[in-house]
Symmetry: none
Subunit: 176 residues, 2 copies
Amino acid sequence: MEISLFLIGLTPSDVGKLNRLVIPKKHAVKYLPLINEDQNEREEGEIVEDVEVVFYDRTMRQWKFRYCYWRSSQSFVFTSGWKRFVKEKNLKERDVIVFYTCDLEGQSNNFLMIDVHYYSEDDSVVTGKKVNESVHYSSEGQVKTQNFVNSKLKQDEAKPVEENKGGFMLFGVKIQ
Amino acid sequence: MEISLFLIGLTPSDVGKLNRLVIPKKHAVKYLPLINEDQNEREEGEIVEDVEVVFYDRTMRQWKFRYCYWRSSQSFVFTSGWKRFVKEKNLKERDVIVFYTCDLEGQSNNFLMIDVHYYSEDDSVVTGKKVNESVHYSSEGQVKTQNFVNSKLKQDEAKPVEENKGGFMLFGVKIQ
DNA sequence: GAGACCACCTGGAAT
DNA sequence: CATTCCAGGTGGTCT
């Protein structure tokens, strides 16, 4: 089954000329590989300065991003590879990307997935908060956009979808 | 006594969002600390990439600027600290900043001073030249703005004020 | 040469 | 209050 890890609502900068995606720290430290955030960390811990992370989209196309920490702004970012993703997925501000881990019934071939949810005026949006914090969906498990909305994902919270006996859900489709 | 080193007439960019002040090269190389202008300069010459320069205004408030060379535009600039100066002095384009060195009668406590001359329509301006090159004053030693105009400073030229026996001039005021 | 990438910087907002 | 975070920037390097 797939487990939704976190969502990111895209800012103008995320899809603009800066060619980077800022990963909110709370998600970065929780779900992404450990990277060196500390100036004087040079121990055996195998903590590295940056790392290549690999995701798959719904078509199982592979996407690689350089994931690193910018000390000066104390922020976690995807750099290399992000621009291509934005262009080929035609991402715009307020679109939402969703990160999943795909756990295939105890098999060892877990992998990470990435998918996009294009912004629509129809989606209800919590007002008065910035994009990153205002993501939620009003539908009851209804597939609204690209056949891909997990119901009741609210307020940028990661929330596993419920398990289905005898199969698993992948991008809103039940696999037997 | 104080010695006027040079003037800079502020451009829109100097007071805008670029957060930098371009120092005309002729003044930078003549009056400011040597910084590394050359790609392959790595010798013992103690020439550094950038430097913090310290000035004092008429109230003896200290102002620090990062002074560095931008290879891409081949220009000498103040960066860090400049924006705060612009904001707190409420500088606008065509205002003029004046750099002084303050030489206290052979004492070793020389220091650099910075002051502002706010633009006024009354000031006659040489036409047809850009702001940086068109600075001059029409008054005959008359203090016009903020009690601070040194007379006959023309065409962006550095020109020492005449010495006064028994004291020195500081921001247009004779110190005994 | 233009664009992508890289390691920095900054101000405002949130905490 | 001070500190952290991060959206929006920068110049420089490489391709």
